[in-house]
């Protein structure tokens, strides 16, 4: 009898334990699906057809969109059994959010243009992003592999610095696609009209001084330098980059390689106070507040416009792409210079530009097909053509050193289209200063830190315009707000939260499965209860 009772208790305990385990397992079901790690197939199965998706970004530049389409057509000619579906975006942020959403639903693209900061977040979906080391080294299908049907670059022909920017946790999780940096497009005519001479390297002190000088007005309220009622002497497109580069140049804290956040320091505080002072005077504004720097520069209403080299075709009196009425354009000489520096002897500028990552799929053959397409985007045909659409630099030495590319650079100023002088000046500036570029540490949460760095400048600028006082108390509050908003005091970043937040309702199949499991457990419990009742009755007799 005792043994029998003991056995019943054990059954109950086991049942409860099983129920608990089931509950724990089920709560973990609806998240990013954990995939098997990818391993390179020995051969591409060419008896099959593959349909892969490629998400890319263009700069509102139809030439870039057409170039992607041309590249896909050329690739599909080489690989008739691989079909590439292109989805174009005009904003990296939207790609990022869409990828995050699609990780949760297991519907990521195959190949995606992205930034390493973003990949660090994608990696939170286990085995979601394919590490490329094995693929790159594969004798048959790797870089310049024997079975690759196009003349792509070998590993040695990739620019090492650009390649290293895509290494996360010791693994190559992306390949660079294009590289750019920020430059300052200067209205040299106005600088000289104000009585200044451009130095060889712009300094922050010089830019602030000239910007303040440009605010002088005549008795009718028109600015002396341009004779117009409007002038914002200094406009910065990416305030993220502004803060990051300033802190780097000041040798101030930003983050450690491991992800410790150091940005909330006194150097940042001094940057914010400087920004506040120049917003208050009217000498400085940002893209978010005042729109594209190029439009103001071209209208003669801005003197220092900081933007990417990838925005160079919009800059200057003869710009091939314009976004304002032609009658608003003014004539001036454009100088393309490094972004302002703290120490002109040791210039530092950010390395940026799109990279490519490969998403894992259940079918390794599909991944291999995607990898071939990704690799195709590194061929000279694509690299040189795409670099020519803006002030981009090819990421392979194979392209940079090719006769075709050298000829392209040598023809600076021959026309205002492909050989537009400002664009080629911006391109050459990066090529000449690759050694002066840097990237920020990449970790899960680095995208949030980047967001916070720019947002602080934006918040200060907006607050000044809204007549708020920027003092230490304000900045203390701002720091706390940023920490909270971007979860910079936690391992869990804003993106992680979004990843879970955007999971959406459970799919119908999952609901059915859960309902089925619940029904089974209910049945077990009812059966166990009935058995117990029977035993009690028997014992009572």
């Amino acid at each position: 009898m005792r043994n029998s009772e003991f056995g019943m208790r054990n059954w109950k305990r086991l049942g409860l334990l099983a129920l608990l385990v089931a509950c724990l397992l089920l709560t973990g079901c609806h998240g990013p699906v954990k995939k098997e790690a990818f391993s390179v197939p020995s051969a591409l199965d060419e008896s099959r057809t593959y349909e892969i998706s490629f998400w890319a970004k263009t700069e509102s530049n139809v030439t870039q969109a057409n170039l992607y389409k041309d590249a896909i057509a050329a690739f599909e000619k080489l690989y008739p059994n691989i079909r590439v579906n292109l989805k174009l975006y005009t904003d990296y942020g939207r790609i990022y959010q869409d990828v995050i959403t699609n990780i949760a639903t297991n519907s990521t693209p195959n190949v995606c243009i992205t930034y390493p900061d973003h990949i660090a977040t994608y990696l939170t979906g286990n085995n979601c992003v394919v590490p490329l080391d094995a693929l790159m080294a594969d004798r048959n299908y790797g870089l310049a592999g024997s079975k690759v049907r196009f003349d792509g670059p070998s590993r040695r022909e990739m620019i090492p610095q650009f390649l290293s920017e895509c290494v996360l946790d010791g693994q190559q999780y992306a390949l660079p696609y294009m590289r750019s940096t920020e430059v300052c497009y200067v209205n040299k005519t106005y600088v000289e009209r104000l009585g200044y001479t451009l130095p060889e390297v712009l300094t922050w002190d010089f830019v602030w001084e000239v910007s303040e000088a440009a605010l002088a007005k005549d008795e009718n309220g028109r600015y002396l330098v341009n004779g117009q009622p409007t002038m914002i002497p200094f406009i910065y497109k990416s305030t993220d980059n502004m803060m990051i580069q300033l802190l780097r140049q000041m040798e101030a804290g930003y983050s450690t390689p491991g992800g410790e956040v150091l940005i909330f320091n006194d150097d940042t505080r001094s940057v914010l106070k400087t920004v506040a002072a120049h917003v208050k005077s009217g000498a400085f504004s940002t893209f978010k507040i005042s729109s594209y720097p190029a439009n103001w520069l071209n209208a003669g209403q801005c003197i220092f416009a900081v933007d990417s080299t990838a925005g160079s075709t919009w800059m200057g009196s003869e710009a091939p792409l314009i976004d304002i009425a032609e009658e608003s354009m003014v004539d001036f000489e454009t100088a393309v210079m490094m972004v302002p520096q703290v120490n002109p002897e040791q210039p530092q500028m950010i390395s940026q530009g799109p990279s490519m990552c490969l998403f894992n799929k259940d079918d390794p053959q599909e991944v291999l097909a995607s990898w071939l397409f990704m690799q195709y985007l590194l061929t000279n045909e694509v690299q040189i053509a795409y670099a020519g659409t803006e002030g981009y630099v090819p990421v392979t030495a194979k392209a940079q050193e090719s006769a075709e590319y050298r000829d392209y650079l040598a023809r600076r100023g021959e026309d205002n289209e492909l050989h537009y002088a400002v664009k080629l000046d911006a391109t050459e500036l990066l090529i000449d200063h690759v050694a002066d570029t840097f990237v920020t540490p990449v970790f899960n949460g680095s995208a949030s830190l980047r967001d916070a760095s720019g947002q602080m400048i934006e918040e200060v600028a907006k607050s000044v315009r809204r007549k708020k006082t920027i003092d230490d108390a304000y900045i203390d509050d701002l720091y706390a707000k940023m920490v909270n908003l971007y979860r910079l005091d936690q391992n869990e970043t804003g993106e992680d939260a979004a990843l879970r937040k955007d999971l959406g309702p459970l799919p119908g199949t999952a609901v059915a499965l859960l309902a089925g499991l619940a029904a089974v457990w209910l049945g077990i419990l009812v059966y166990a209860a009935a058995e117990q009742l029977k035993q009690r009755r028997r014992a009572g007799k």
């Binding site: 942020g93 594209y292 907006k462 809204r466």
Partner: protein, 231 residues
């Protein structure tokens, strides 16, 4: 010492209230007032959604955002990347009235409301006690309002067509006068609690009746709730 600490705390508390009172809710502006407002000043407007751009999670602001084209009868507004949850975004259908608080800004010539938050502009009426007006000419002044009549005595309960399923006619009395009320099946049908409650009333029950002061050749309140009269 205890008294001193208590007084100090009381003063602090009063100070808190005083500070809170210094920041009254911003006044809702007319379109003309909005147009006249300076750039970079806070604005509050009531408007109706006309169309929306797609909602998305903006990691820069750490929230979902949606851009809305809105209007009132006098003019229109562009609500740029207004903070909005995905659930609320689904409710921003054309015609929806919202109250928006943000800053008036300009971007490339586009005057817009930025850094905005919003709330759905809803109003749910509280019932007005009109017991004292029952049987007077003043009651019609409350026509269509949600009202409560207290201490009514049930005189008769009658189903239209003789059985449950259709309207219920309710005769109640107060101070010797009788009044006809109604459970309107298209407002509160047989599946509702009030329908069952009224169906179970007995002659002589004293109840408080809530409903809309409908008129059908005289007061004929459409009942929404019945509770035993408070003693």
């Amino acid at each position: 010492m205890k008294k001193f600490v208590a007084m100090l705390l009381a003063l602090l508390l009063m100070g808190c209230f005083a500070v809170a009172e210094e920041a009254p809710a911003a006044k809702v502006m007319t379109y003309a007032e909005y147009v006249a407002a300076e750039l970079e000043t806070e604005v509050v407007v009531d408007c109706y959604v006309q169309a929306t751009q797609s909602w998305y999670y903006n990691s820069k602001v750490g929230s979902g955002v949606i851009t809305v084209y809105a209007a009132d009868k006098d003019g229109a507004y562009f609500l740029y990347e207004m903070i909005c949850s995905e659930e609320d975004a689904a409710r921003l259908v054309p015609g929806t009235k919202i109250r928006v608080t943000g800053y008036k800004g300009e971007w490339s010539g586009e005057v817009e409301i930025m850094d905005a938050t919003f709330e759905f502009d809803t109003y749910v009426a509280e019932p007005v006690d009109v017991t004292a007006f029952l049987g007077t000419d003043e009651l019609i002044g409350y026509q269509n309002q949600l009202a409560v009549f207290k201490g009514l005595t049930v005189e008769k309960i009658e189903y239209k067509n003789g059985e449950p399923g259709d309207d219920i006619y309710v005769t109640v009395s107060l101070n010797g006068a009788s009044y006809d009320f109604c459970v309107e099946r298209y407002l509160t049908g047989p599946e509702t609690e009030v329908y069952a409650t009224v169906g179970a009333l007995n002659v002589g029950d004293v109840v408080d009746v809530t409903g809309f002061v409908y008129w059908y050749n005289g007061v004929n309140t459409h009942i929404t709730a019945v509770t035993p009269a408070a003693k």
